[in-house]
């Protein structure tokens, strides 16, 4: 068994993980007949600290009301709580308040951009003209995209007649930034900040520069970056960015779209209905300024409050420290897993431009079978294509096992993962029959 004692701990303040764990009620439960839960699936969804649960409950027990719709005391309090959450979340990513739109998840946020832009084709607002895309135009995505930043663009191309083009992935899990992909025909470049499978962090500034050179809009999938490291959308220079609350200690049911102010002001609406209008007449309607324009209907009020509390929690930990802690765990996992014969890491094998998602294969043991053995030891990992099917196809694998880490994970848990992998190998090699 490899010892993980050799893993370097990062310098600087580190997280008090014991104290953090005490904030997460779910982490003290057991699974499968009394095994302590080892939750290594935060890349899919994170757990929530008491502080977030309490903030949401407090709101619901004291100030719950429809926001922006009433003149009574509760409605004023609810509106304040909702908008204060927006301010804190905007500040968290270096954006202005008016640049943050609440959606139900990152998937909706990315669809919002894709539909908003295709709606420009039928909009009569001259400001929307800049978004018109049609046959002959191109949209560039990457082979490491999550389906959420890929399928909406396939469908966008179907609606507009534009063509989809791809940046490929190299054998070591980096983007192959072939300069011929982005051309004068490129109107949109949609790409991930951090791969949810490989952990790879992409060179955002470089891609933004390539896109800007041809006047294309950039759409960043920040689902796996914003929860795990300091992110400043203004500094990155992207036009749009999307992430989800449930992956960053916040509630499910809330996501965020960041859009540069000037662009949100020009983008046609997507979902339409109450609270996003300016004037409604029988023949036609006009629409409110952003962010209201993009928030039709009664919004995710308590969820915004919860996400605000999650951001407060992360700020208190310090995103630099969160990142350093995850680096420590990732380094341990990479080292521990590579020391196991028959295990192949998919993606970068060192910490350079890499976050804390570690995907791998075990020779002769199907990922689902391996995960079943891990699960039997209380270890929750994810298996499958992780909503990144083209990426798996590029690597010639059907599916993989992914461990992903967060603020509450420990080196002992990483060790348990490595031990669990060996147990899976033993289990399926029993009776001496090799597979």
């Amino acid at each position: 068994m490899t010892s993980l004692a050799s893993v370097p701990t990062t310098t600087g303040a580190t997280l008090d993980v014991e104290k953090i764990r005490a904030d997460f009620p779910i982490l003290s439960r057991t699974v499968r007949d009394g095994k302590p839960l080892i939750y290594l699936d935060s890349g899919a969804t994170s757990q929530r600290p008491r502080q977030v649960l309490d903030a949401e409950r407090h709101f619901l027990e004291t100030s719950n009301a429809a926001v922006h719709r009433g003149a009574h005391a509760l409605s004023e309090e609810a509106t304040d709580a909702y908008e204060s959450a927006r301010e804190r979340i905007a500040a968290f990513i270096g954006a202005d308040d008016g640049e943050v739109v609440f959606t139900k998840n990152a998937t909706e946020a990315l669809n919002l951009v894709a539909y908003g832009m295709s709606n420009a084709l039928t909009s009569d607002d001259p400001k929307a003209e800049r978004f018109r895309v049609g046959p002959g135009d191109e949209v560039v995505v990457t082979e490491m995209e999550h389906h959420a930043n890929l399928v909406p663009w396939q469908e966008f191309c179907r609606r507009t007649g534009a063509t989809l083009r791809w940046f490929g992935v190299t054998a070591d899990g980096r983007l192959d930034l072939d300069p011929s992909v982005i051309t004068e025909r490129t109107k949109i470049v949609a790409f991930t900040h951090q791969s949810n499978v490989l952990g790879t962090v992409t060179p955002v500034e470089q891609i933004v520069a390539m896109a800007k050179a041809v006047g294309a809009y950039t759409v960043l999938d920040a689902c796996q970056s914003v929860p795990h490291a300091p992110v400043d959308v203004h500094a990155l220079g992207v036009d749009f960015a999307a992430f989800s609350g449930h992956k960053m200690l916040g509630p499910s049911g809330i996501g965020v779209l960041y859009g540069r102010r000037e662009l949100l002001e020009a983008l046609p609406p997507f979902l339409t209905g109450g609270s996003m209008i300016e004037l409604v007449r029988t023949e036609r309607s006009t629409y409110a300024a952003p962010p209201a324009r993009f928030e039709a209907g009664v919004p995710m009020t308590s969820q915004a409050v919860g996400l605000g509390a999650a951001v407060d929690y992360l700020n208190a930990l310090g995103m630099e420290n969160v990142h350093a802690h995850e680096n420590t765990l990732t380094a341990a996992a990479l080292e521990g897993l590579q020391a196991v014969d028959g295990v192949t890491i998919i993606g970068p094998r060192n910490l350079e431009s890499r976050g804390g998602a570690v995907s791998f294969e075990i020779d002769g043991v199907h990922p689902h079978d391996a995960s079943q053995v891990l699960d039997d030891s209380g270890i929750a990992v994810r298996v499958g294509h992780h909503c990144a099917w083209p990426l798996h196809r590029a690597f010639g694998v059907q599916s993989s096992i992914r461990a992903s880490f967060y603020v509450y994970n420990t080196l002992d848990e990483v060790q348990a993962l490595v031990d669990g992998v060996r147990r899976a190998q033993d289990f399926f090699a029993r009776d001496g029959v090799s597979l």
């Binding site: 499968r32 199907h366 079978d369 079943q372 039997d376 499958g384 059907q398 599916s399 029959v433």
Partner: protein, 157 residues
Amino acid sequence: MKLESMYQEIILDHYKNPHGRGLREPYEAEVHHVNPTCGDEVTVRVHLEGSGADAKVVDLSYDSLGCSISQAATSVAYDLVVGRTVGEAFEVLAAYQEMVQGRGKVEADEDVLDDAVAFAGVAAYPARVKCALLGWLAFKDAVAQADENAPELEGQR
């Protein structure tokens, strides 16, 4: 221990030494099924003699990529349907499907299920039910494509 209750010896045996594997001729229909959650795939061909419930399953040949459960299930299916009538095969499938989807609440009928009773433990793991059914449902579709008089599967909705 629960893990062993799912991975019965008989399942691991079929997984390691699958019966009837490979795509063969002749066949009347070939279908390709994918499990969208894991990307695993199976291609199934059937060769029938006759039509309707009394048609005989002369061969079920297949090629597949997948987990132990799905591989073993297809191998067991081969054993249980080849040589029987479509009506009999569908009866086994109906009982099998009821068992694996039964959340552990359905009593397995060993007389009907034979070796397939080994998959009873899968019922406790909802995420693996699709694995246990992948090859079987491909077989069912192949029969439906091969013979327009194929019977309905019982208990389907």
